[in-house]
Symmetry: C2
Subunit: 590 residues, 2 copies
Amino acid sequence: MVLEKINSPKDVKTLNLDEMKILADEIRQGILDKVNAIGGHMGPNLGIVETTIAMHYVFNSPEDKFVFDVSHQCYPHKMLTGRKEGFTNPNEYLTYTGYTAPEESDHDLFKVGHTSTSVSLATGVAKARDLKGEKYNVIALIGDGSLSGGEAYEGLNNASTLNSNIIIIVNDNDISIAENHGGLYDNLKNLRESNGNAENNFFKSLGFDYYFVKDGNDTQSLINTFKKVKDIDHPVIVHIYTEKGLGLKPAVENKEAYHWALPGVLNPQSDNNTTQEESYTSITLDYISKKTKEDKTVIAVNAGTPGVFGYTPEYRNSLGNQYTDVGIAEEHAVAYSSALAKQGAKPILSFMSSFVQRTYDQLSQDLALNNSPITMLIYWGGISGADATHLCTFDVPLISNIPNIVYLAPVNKEEYLAMLDWSINQTKYPVAIRVPMTNLVSVGIKDTTDYSILNKFKIINKGENVAIIGAGNFFQLGEKVKALLNTKLGINATLINPVYLTGIDEEMLNNLKSNHKLVITLEDNVLNGGFGEKISRYYGNSEMKVLNFGADKEFTDRISLSDLYEKYHLTPDLIVDDIAKTLNLLEYSK
Amino acid sequence: MVLEKINSPKDVKTLNLDEMKILADEIRQGILDKVNAIGGHMGPNLGIVETTIAMHYVFNSPEDKFVFDVSHQCYPHKMLTGRKEGFTNPNEYLTYTGYTAPEESDHDLFKVGHTSTSVSLATGVAKARDLKGEKYNVIALIGDGSLSGGEAYEGLNNASTLNSNIIIIVNDNDISIAENHGGLYDNLKNLRESNGNAENNFFKSLGFDYYFVKDGNDTQSLINTFKKVKDIDHPVIVHIYTEKGLGLKPAVENKEAYHWALPGVLNPQSDNNTTQEESYTSITLDYISKKTKEDKTVIAVNAGTPGVFGYTPEYRNSLGNQYTDVGIAEEHAVAYSSALAKQGAKPILSFMSSFVQRTYDQLSQDLALNNSPITMLIYWGGISGADATHLCTFDVPLISNIPNIVYLAPVNKEEYLAMLDWSINQTKYPVAIRVPMTNLVSVGIKDTTDYSILNKFKIINKGENVAIIGAGNFFQLGEKVKALLNTKLGINATLINPVYLTGIDEEMLNNLKSNHKLVITLEDNVLNGGFGEKISRYYGNSEMKVLNFGADKEFTDRISLSDLYEKYHLTPDLIVDDIAKTLNLLEYSK
């Protein structure tokens, strides 16, 4: 066993090639064991093992600085930098994050989880070094998939003008999460096929020196090339060709499925369990299938994360030219969809909440200012126990404070489908829909609401004294609070589904004043800049009390949902307690 | 006179080359006259006259679709599409915007004012055409400066994969607003110098067919090339080399100064009027000069708009390697600055408010999540009579709802300088400062506040009954409201400078409850998601009334500031009236 001797990168430097080969096998075993136990990024880490060993063999981390793009390929790096127990000891599987984390180790510079940032960050590191008159290597490791993001290009365009050391390793494995999209990928293919000698080299066109490593899983080749570029005095690209998923046959054969794997991936259950339960994802897929068949101008668009939406390769094929994956290029996705809509097509653009953050200005300028009638679906929006890099609580303040956009929060299947229909058929507004994160709820009655009457809230139960406004995912929490208010305090509360996150129903809110003392708002996102504050503002000049429930403005990092709900007072008990306190205060103050 | 006969693009098609030459001169005269009268984009429009004539001669707008990047070079296009009176008749100078505007003409597809969007928009137009089975040319016109923006690259990378007509004219005039920055510009230079035949053609590397026009101000050459690519069945780049400012010698000789010109540009006053008044811009320049000299790790960073901050060419040179203009690449600017700070340098990153929108995810992920101690200066933040494309009212909701960032709103010179000092010397937080839009106010007393005690508001005058929280630009409005409250209603109001836009002073707000009935907030930005709503939320469970004053969530378009202030109740009289109403309501309800 070689890995057991490796406590820091120094120990890697003492190994011979045979030992490094054994080390690579052991690292792969650690990746397989851990991902099989708790899930994680499988393919990207299996592919980058030899590269990481060679990096630590040739360079001197932490004096030399490694910047990992997305950092979902940092498992081997963690194993070589004092954190191997996180992979070899099941009790320690949860000790370390799946991404680089400066709080864990000096070998990690940045907390990273979104794509396409490494070249910019590395350029800043290199410039700081130069300003301080220091000497060390700065190495960015970026995958080919990340190269489609605008930030990566902005970084490359600037990195190449540094008159000093910066080494950008482009890990080309011919696939992003799904297949790559864009003209650049033909260029990478040409470069691979020409052993780096193709005409019109993208990297050289941006001013980089350029090296190609044909076998990016051959440690010796990597070491040779890294030695050549070590201490180089100008910007250089090292383009390496690796095999994603290497070491696990199914992961090589089905790179998309094994990019991120669920626990138990090595022992998949038989496929008999195919009684697909209906979910908001499945009904969306059915809906898009149906609509694209009915109308040749309906088109599904996404930015490099088809799996989030259940867009399997078969499904994508079934949509034909009515499907565009723009690659990891969220800005383009929005502008492209805006123009599609402006010219009479009907784009359904889907984002995971955390990634819609990557395109604020396009939402504002390309889309909202032009009032293009697209349908935008926001997935996974809500408080979660996710890594700090993948929180999905900011989409509401982000989207809902942009003029013109209508942001809808359905609470059941029928409402969601009616909103989809309305959105696709109308031509007046950009519409976003926050796809519920809850299990599918069906009320069994077709929703005939006219959603063109904007900002009209729905009163579900008329009561008095307390009104509960439960938005989207938290409508059902509102139902529970209503029930508990009745049981505990004998209050027959009013329950409201606000439907719209982008406006308020002034008439209804005003009417509530006649027989309510308190309005509470429930929203599954950060409170700051969110929905509830708009209700608080509205009632500011009145006697109405308002309590806003939602998440604090903070980056939480793998905190369990139950702990977060406790902290934010998002359980029926805690909410009813807060209501009781506020009402008692009212009694007291009389 | 040829122009007088041109009422639509059809009329351009009847002209011979001599007439087109005359037309070009007349268009230039229109640009000069109008810009000299009311200000506007001078250089970009002077440079693109022949291109526009040739485009309308060869293509058939509006059947063929033109998409202008930034659209600050659309004056000639407007003159040829029925809007020439906006340039020839001084009474009509204000009739049309300086950007493309679909509400003005069918020849304008999109409302555009931010850079780097045209290729993505054109790709969407082309795809909609293909889905609908229609046939027409889609032409994007993008300047070289816009090519440094990530959205442009994302667009190019996707446009090249269209299997149909899209024509991207790259207007290369060898300068953006200031000089261009980035490796791409060496490639453009190589292409110019090789008559389009350089090795490693950036556009070809992305999969485009490619044409070069050496003299982009020669109408015949342009027509010849446009005819070649008209109705082409695949993506093509037409790289044209033009002279920015052509037709006005000083504009050619000093392209940066004449990019956007003030009224009277053709008859500049003598330079005797050099008694430079102190302004927030001038003291910032002085501050950066001093700090960069004292500390070699202080570095000024911006993204392609040095003029906004008063960074003249001489000033830039004076900073040497302690200055980085990354070009129009706001995302890179943030990530780069974050990394600079993380490695111990002290970046001062400046943005115009409207453009900080282009980098939300980097503010969140690259910067805030990593808690990098940069200093970010936001200029021009505030309500204005600007075009809808250049509003500066959204930076507060954008920045202030991201965790970790400290957003400060100084109200006078001493406070601003103290904040700068604190920010540069601390290492715990990313700090943004909203540089005041007001005339410089000096209180003459050094500010010794410890800004590391976050979210501590300052009570400027202790009073009772009503508390006025006047943020940033609107602190002085708060002073006026306080005076008028006294005169009109006999109220001795409390006046508060909140200092922080990213948090609230709960202790102070709680103390106000003892002898105040009403708190009003004044903020120079949209209310939705802004500062005041956080105050409203805080007081939701109490008897305190709150009124939030600020801008509505809307895209205003060249509405005068006085009209906006009237509409939003942002004058002392209107505010005092609202206060009186709210207090009377209180009386009434007792």
